[in-house]
Symmetry: C2
Subunit: 208 residues, 2 copies
DNA sequence: GTCTATATCATGATAGAC
DNA sequence: GTCTATCATGATATAGAC
């Protein structure tokens, strides 16, 4: 996300990331990227042939970075509830560091889904393994029965959406009090974990 | 959302709504709106002085339409759990009919939050009454203790986010099978209601 | 590799006839 | 109110000197 080398190419990538993430593909201006990188527009086209290509490079990097966070944790051997807790922690942690990613990704996948398709195909992303694990835990009676994909949708929604809707939450809930907003996001991980556990963990034999 | 009169102004509003909602303020082209309305660009500027003003008219309409759905239900006298169920039903129902609204609103509030500010101020939107109701039910021991704003955030997230991330869900989960996607969204209301009830309703005296 | 200058084009907006 | 024709701007992209 933040390339450290100070070569021209790295300066461009860093500047482009900032501008694209905050303005989006259509809102971003090559002039602004050039200014932020401390160079001129011509050089942008020298390194990356077009705005489109520069954007694709950045977008792939962001998706690669934001997407497979789950996959790593899911492949471990721990009990399902522990995995879920780790996934929630990892997600909230990531999003607190990069709160603008969700709005950016939502914007761009809705503008041009083909960019996503290429990446999904390229990384061979397939959630079936995760669903199978969840189904197994349900069949063993550890957690309540529900369609695994809905459980995953619920968890991811609660993690990501409050960041995508950040301006609403900031203004409506906290009147743009930055400290209160930060505190809210810091609480999210614990809140979501508790909520999910209450919703799905079977304690005695009381539930089917 | 769909003005029925066939006056020129209404045709413009309908066309502009379609184009703005799918393309966003920056992606939308006045030419495309004119084409879809069956007129020419000059007339757009005759009725609405600028693209900016046309957009504001549409955006206000969308927000006014998408926002206060909750408020109506919340002011009734029913028990809190019943209200929550109704809110979820109302939201999913609305979003199935207008699945592109979430991505549009997220895009635009992140692009220019000031548009939201004006509307919030104008409608005097204040969630405190809702939070108070929830807190009361918690104090009465009907539902588990948690910060009301987090409960609201959880519910709204689970309702809205899957629509905002529609292209991802469509492709990754259902390989663009439209019927399967529709079925998924149709299930959401029941799934979310059950999930929330499991998470918060206190049945015996087992929980504090 | 980096710059200045310029080509090319698309878009929002307006003028003016009818 | 509605149209055609045109302007003015600003953006991506390129040419060519150093």
């Amino acid at each position: 996300m933040e390339p450290k080398k100070d070569s021209t190419e790295d300066k461009i990538l860093e500047a482009a990331t900032n501008v694209f993430v905050t303005k989006g593909m259509e809102g971003a201006r090559m002039q602004e990227i050039a200014d932020e990188a401390g160079i001129n527009k011509a050089l942008l086209h020298y390194y990356f042939r077009s705005k489109e290509r520069l954007f694709e490079a950045i977008f792939a990097e962001i998706i690669k970075f934001a997407f497979p966070k789950i996959t790593r944790i899911v492949t471990s051997d721990e009990p399902i509830v522990s995995k879920i807790e780790q996934v929630i922690d990892a997600y909230i942690d990531l999003l607190i560091k990069h709160p603008f990613i969700p709005a950016f990704v939502i914007k761009e996948i809705n503008r041009d889904p083909s960019g996503l398709f290429k990446l999904v195909v390229k990384f061979g992303l397939n959630p079936q393994a995760i669903f199978d694990q969840i189904q197994l835990a349900m069949d063993r009676g550890e957690i309540v029965q529900m369609q695994p994909r809905h459980l995953v949708a619920n968890i991811i929604s609660m993690c990501i959406f409050p960041f995508a809707a950040r301006p609403i939450i900031s203004f409506v809930l906290f009147k743009d009090d930055q400290q209160a907003l930060d505190a809210f996001y810091a609480e999210r991980a614990e809140v979501i974990k508790q909520f999910v556990i209450n919703a799905i963990v079977i304690k005695n034999k009381e539930k089917v």
